[in-house]
């Protein structure tokens, strides 16, 4: 077991980063604080505070790199950096990327990394998860703020920003779901280690039931609570772009982690998916149907299962034996496959088979 790496090995040091940043900036620089972020598990995130010889105050940066043995996500780290690079030229709030590093002289065990500026703020919105009525307004305002920022993202001109250079675009809005399913299953084949009867049979259901998209948008992928940086009630930076893609904006609404809370008082619905979709339509001009959100919850679950299959490869190859990936690839993969099977067998509580009987919605066309 001696040669196996745990999640703790290959720790970055302030000395190494001081030398690196001094080289990049061409002046002496000292990293005075270095901290590994405890949240998040798909890649390593490090926060560093540094002081440049000519600077009048410390500067905060973020370093991202794959885990020892590889990332949980099957999409390369470089893609994440390239997304930041393009979004820095857009109205979407993101941290400014600084450098992509693949020079072997600076790499530890070949692990590439990139740096970006750190935006002051916090992923946590205090009391957001508190169901007490006194926090209803806070929870609804936070949800609206998130929807406004998603609307900005979904309306950005991804073609002009060059996203087609790093992502495949769906052939049309009508084929968004089919293209996403095909792309996902093709990606799975590149690292598949086991046959999976449920996912194999489920592919046909996913292809047959994909709703038409209102438009083709740049998608964030993972989004919602824990994925964005807040300051004074505003999202000042959207973070975690590793599962970003081009597709149906319904997919992002299906993946809002906690940020569409269900709030009911005295028998009256104050907030929930219906109200969130209506508000999103007001701020984006794009109409998203609840059925499409239900479909993408299932497809996103399949994507998560496939991503977690990739994430457990370091455990199988004994290059990173941390139990987190093992848990995700056991219980969570089981639950995502069960979600798909429930939908295939007509048991899903959120899903009903009526896509073929409805007309495409009237929409804005942001891209």
């Amino acid at each position: 077991m001696g040669q196996h790496q745990s999640g703790h090995s290959n720790a970055l040091t302030a000395g190494f980063l001081s030398r690196y940043l001094s080289s990049k900036w061409g002046e002496p620089c000292e990293v005075c604080r270095l901290e590994k972020f405890d949240r998040g598990w798909s890649r390593e995130t490090w926060f560093l505070e540094c002081r440049r010889a000519t600077g009048d105050r410390p500067q905060n940066l973020v370093l991202r790199r794959d885990l020892p043995g590889g990332s949980i996500d099957h999409r390369p780290l470089r893609k994440e950096y390239e997304i930041y690079r393009r979004l820095a030229l857009s109205p979407v709030p993101v941290a400014r990327p600084l450098w992509w590093e693949d020079d072997p002289a600076w790499l530890e065990n070949g692990r590439e990394f990139y740096l970006r500026e750190q935006i002051e703020g916090d992923w946590d919105v205090p009391h957001f998860m508190d169901p007490h009525p006194q926090y209803d307004a806070l929870r609804i305002d936070t949800s609206k703020e998130h929807l406004r920022k998603l609307a900005i993202l979904h309306r950005c001109d991804w073609h002009q920003l060059g996203f087609e250079e790093i992502m495949s675009a769906p052939a049309s809005a009508a084929t968004c779901a089919r293209d996403a399913v095909t792309r996902l299953y093709d990606e799975w084949q590149t690292f598949r280690f086991d046959p999976d009867p449920v996912l194999t049979e489920g592919k046909e259901w996913l292809l047959a039931n994909g709703p038409p998209a209102p438009c083709i948008s740049l998608l964030k992928g993972n989004n919602g609570r824990g994925e964005e940086v807040f300051r004074n009630g505003q999202i000042v930076a959207m973070s975690d772009w590793e599962s970003s893609s081009l597709g149906d904006p319904s997919s992002d609404l299906a993946r809002c982690q906690d940020f569409i809370p269900e709030i009911e008082r005295g028998g009256k619905r104050l907030w929930g998916l219906e109200q969130a979709l209506e508000y999103y339509r007001e701020v984006s001009g794009v109409e998203i149907r609840a059925q499409s959100v239900a479909y993408y919850r299932i497809l996103n679950g399949v994507e998560s299962a496939i991503t977690l299959f990739h994430g457990v490869l370091p455990v199988i190859h004994k290059t990173n034996l941390l139990v987190r990936q093992t848990w995700l690839a056991t219980e969570m993969v089981h639950l995502f496959r069960k979600l798909l099977l429930d939908a295939m067998c007509g048991r899903s509580t959120e899903y009903s088979r009526s896509f073929y009987n409805t007309q495409p919605p009237k929409t804005g066309q942001p891209s």
């Binding site: 046959p195 449920v198 049979e201 848990w327 219980e331 067998c345």
Partner: protein, 167 residues
Amino acid sequence: MRPSAEEVMHSIIWTFDAEIAPDLSTARAKSLALTTSNLLRHVLLRMQREAYALWDDNRELRQLLARMQGFFAQTRDSRGHDQAIPEVLARKYAVPGAYRGVAELEKEAFDLREAFGAATVRLHSLQATHSSDEQYRQLRAAIREYLEHLMKRESRWIDEAFVQARR
């Protein structure tokens, strides 16, 4: 030999939860201890149940593959894989009477599921021309029924294992 492997596992789980986890001091260690505790129960349940589940699964999948093979023979569909199912069904996985452990059952399951995957893709390709064929519909229903059984078998080392906070 006593204590049995199961008894040893029970002892490890109890000691870990009652004596080790409460003494951990960092947030990271506490979080990883929660994940580990859940997985220890998962391993215990797999030790108890996985061999039987794989045995049942392989047997059911063999019957389903034989049925798929019969359907393909009747459709006179000449697209590939004609030999994949007969080959895997004829393959010998154990000397008669010899003990078969989980690893051997997993190897058989892998081969059967690979053949099932290829046959499923082939069945999907016949949807347009055979969706009103009663035999085709019954076969598709049988596949869903098998998948239900597969997931039910797997849930026996998931549902009872992951019962406390995960991280």
